[in-house]
């Protein structure tokens, strides 16, 4: 068994696609219309085009709002992405206007930071485990 796909709920799929590709640097993998307004929309890392896909799922379900709002209030990230250098990525993303709820902190063997994806979620970045 392996993790093929995981998802985050997003307020607006078009906006999410822009943030995840233009700002974070992922690439679009699947974009299939589903129903009248939704899309099966996934992105992958350019470093691993065949790797785990991230589904940008519409957060239309009423429970999704409560779930995300409560976690965001306490600063809890819903996904973690690996980067080579958290400090460098923090500088790059901050320059692009990304808001961090946690600036880089050394946490034992890893450095982590938490950013706002502007679509309703907090995302943690961490140094890639060696």
């Amino acid at each position: 068994m392996k993790i093929h796909l995981t998802s985050v709920f997003v307020d607006d799929q078009a906006k999410a696609l822009r943030f995840y590709t233009e700002i974070l640097g992922f690439v679009k993998k699947h974009d299939v219309p589903v129903g009248e307004q939704d899309r099966w929309l996934t992105v992958v890392s350019p470093e691993e085009p065949g790797g785990t896909e991230l589904l940008l799922e519409p957060a239309r379900h009423p429970a999704a709002r409560t779930y995300r709002d409560t976690l965001v209030e306490d600063g809890i990230p819903l996904a973690q992405f690996a980067v080579d250098d958290v400090e460098e990525e923090y500088e790059r993303l901050s320059a692009l206007g990304v808001r961090f709820t946690q600036k880089p902190v050394e946490m034992g063997p890893v450095t982590t930071a938490v950013l706002d994806d502007t679509c309703g979620n907090l995302i943690q970045i961490a140094t890639r485990p060696q």
Binding site: V72, G75, I76, D116, L122
Partner: protein
């Protein structure tokens, strides 16, 4: 006020939280929990950390503010002045211990 302050400071975990907030003010609950666990090996539940923060807040040592949808915790050391007012610290340093 003074009793709240001394009670808040009496607990080692709460003092550690203050140490971490002194290093960087403005932390989410998530960051405080992560710091306690990763840097101090304190495996405390989020609820317990929330309760510690409530005690620190009641003593005025921690203040919370909302920014967007997130809640941040800031350190406020002003209440510590009560200690120095109760047991004043001399302004002038002790004379140098140079004379025999």
């Amino acid at each position: 006020m003074a009793d709240d302050l001394f009670r808040a400071l009496a607990d080692p975990t709460r003092r550690t939280i203050l140490d971490e907030l002194a290093e960087r003010s403005g932390q989410t609950l998530f960051e405080i929990c992560a710091r306690l666990s990763m840097r101090h090996g304190l495996g405390i539940s989020r609820q317990a950390v929330s309760q510690h923060l409530a005690v620190l807040e009641a003593a005025g040592l921690v203040e919370t503010r909302r920014e967007g949808r997130c809640k941040f915790h800031d350190l406020n050391t002003d209440p510590l002045r009560h200690i120095a007012e109760r047991w004043p610290v001399p302004d002038t340093p002790e004379p140098e211990d140079g004379t025999p």
